[in-house]
């Protein structure tokens, strides 16, 4: 199985194996909540929301954003700040559907893991 070298997070708290594969879910959900965001804003927001427990690296974020855009999940808006160009990302119609699916899938996964690892007392 292929594990690509740069798809990793700098995450002081969690091992990279643990949250690998959730980057798309995080990005899609964040954009669903906030509307439109640019790259730096996404990294700062994730850091802030998780008290620094999850820090997304640029090396993982931008390739993912480009791939989501190419697949039609995201659309972009450009803002010119002097010589700089800031790209805002927001969900497309398809992206909103994918975001909902990803979040449901992950919620279901967490429940299964809780049950599997016996993390909370079972009812009855």
């Amino acid at each position: 199985m292929h594990i690509h070298k740069t798809l990793m997070y700098i995450c002081p708290m969690y091992s990279s194996e643990l949250i690998k594969g959730t980057l798309k879910t995080i990005v899609l959900n964040l954009l669903k909540e906030k509307g439109k965001m640019y790259g730096y804003e996404i990294t700062q927001k994730v850091k802030e929301l998780t008290d620094g427990k999850i820090q997304i690296t640029e090396g993982a974020l931008y390739p993912t954003l480009h791939s989501l855009e190419q697949n039609g999940e995201l659309e972009t808006e450009k803002e010119y700040i002097g010589k700089r160009v800031r790209k805002y990302y927001k969900l497309t119609k398809q992206g909103r559907v994918t975001a909902a699916e990803r979040i449901n899938e992950f919620a279901d996964f967490m429940n299964t893991m809780k049950f599997l690892l016996d993390l909370e007392p079972k009812m009855g």
Partner: protein, 395 residues
């Protein structure tokens, strides 16, 4: 808050480009991101260039180019699952078509050629190239990617060669010979050496190498399949036997002529016979010289056992069948017609003495068969002469 100046923006952008990031969108994303970090985190007293050098490593593990590579990778392989599906479908289709085609061919049923060719083309032009693309994605090590791709490329070459050979298309031997040579003597050893030291691959590598070596080696032995030496010797012996008989008759005829030389018909018959006989002898020498690439003098000393390209059909097609010179098929037919008309004048009632050349197939054959046929004609010519001379002597 620090404001990044226009010169500094240019500096950052050029640096991003210099690090191998080519996608414009990605360049501007990174530029904005770096400017944000600098404006948020750098204090007024800090030096811009030093600070920039300090934050740059946050973006990568070894070099900034990784971002470009990762982006390319995600964009290129978004069709990964579609590719895997096509791989499965094309693999099964080509295997089925090849099996059906081979069965049809075995029983000489119609549609064999097209089925096998279709199976082979799907295998070598869809299945194997997709394998290369997928191996490039799946294999983690660069050497593995390259080594396996070379193997599949050689596989494409050999399987195309086999299809060409089945269909008698040109360059089949070239494709098979060089594809197999590089596969057996180049690829398999490299494959073996590049993997054998890795403990987890050791067993698979050994088994695969042995299998590839055995299959490749057997194909290698197969593709230049000719007659066994015994068969070749018997073909050459029958040719010599026929020629020796003809020569004995030539000698016998020479004696008979001496006793009947007074008659002008005898001389006419002898002239017609020996002209055609010598003409065919010259054609045979010419053909051997052409297929063996030797001089006429050298060819005159050779018999069929010395002819290595005894299965040639290309050179004789060019130099004999469709040629126009003295040693061509057209010239031979003229001479045979001439002989027939001369003989029928001398003995009009004996039709069996005419050479029924239309019963022979002098076209679309191999050189060993053609030489046999030419000797048969010679033998008939001298036998006719012998019969005629004996008849005349008895009168």
């Amino acid at each position: 808050m620090y404001r990044v100046s226009d010169e500094e923006i240019d500096y950052i952008l050029n640096d991003i480009k210099a690090h191998g990031v080519v996608l414009e969108d990605l360049q501007y994303n990174l530029l904005d991101h770096m400017c944000c970090i600098i404006e948020e985190e750098m204090s007024e007293e800090d030096d811009f260039y030093k600070f920039y050098e300090k934050i740059l490593p946050r973006f990568f593990k070894q070099s900034l180019k990784e971002l470009q590579e990762e982006t390319d990778y995600l964009l290129t392989f978004k069709h990964y699952y579609a590719m895997k599906n096509i791989l499965k479908i094309s693999g099964i289709t080509s295997a089925l078509l090849t099996l059906i085609g081979a069965t049809l061919k075995t029983f000489h049923l119609p549609g064999a050629g097209i089925t096998i060719v279709l199976g082979g083309l799907i295998f070598s032009l869809i299945f194997l190239p997709l394998m290369i693309a997928l191996k490039f994605k799946d294999e983690a090590k660069r050497t593995d990617k390259i080594v396996l791709s070379i193997g599949f490329l050689l596989g494409i070459m050999v399987s195309m060669g086999i299809i060409f050979k089945l269909m008698h298309w040109p360059y089949a031997n070239f494709l098979m010979r060089w594809g197999l040579t590089f596969f057996v003597f180049g690829y398999v050893p490299i494959y073996f050496l590049s993997r054998i030291r890795r403990a987890e691959l050791k067993f698979n590598t050994t088994v695969n190498s042995v299998l590839m070596m055995a299959c490749g080696g057997m194909l290698y032995a197969l593709f230049n399949l000719g007659y066994s030496n015994d068969v070749k010797n018997s073909i050459a012996a029958s040719y010599d036997f026929m020629n020796d008989n003809a020569k004995e008759l030539v000698a016998a005829n020479a004696k008979l002529i001496q006793t009947n030389s007074a008659k002008s018909e005898v001389n006419d018959f002898h002239l017609a016979s020996s002209e055609l006989y010598n003409k065919i002898e010259d054609i045979k020498v010419f053909l051997i010289a052409q297929v063996e690439g030797v001089t006429l003098e050298q060819a005159r000393q050779m018999s069929l056992i010395d002819v290595e390209n005894y299965n040639d059909n290309k050179i004789i097609r060019r130099q004999f069948e469709s040629a126009t010179g003295d040693f061509s098929l057209a010239a031979l037919m003229d001479d045979i017609n001439d002989y027939n008309s001369r003989v029928s004048k001398i003995s009009p009632e004996q039709k069996e003495r005419l050479i029924a050349v239309e019963k022979l197939q002098l076209k679309n054959t191999v050189v060993s068969v053609l030489l046999h046929q030419l000797s048969q004609i010679q033998l008939e010519v001298v036998t006719n002469e012998n019969a005629y001379l004996n008849e005349v002597s008895r009168q």
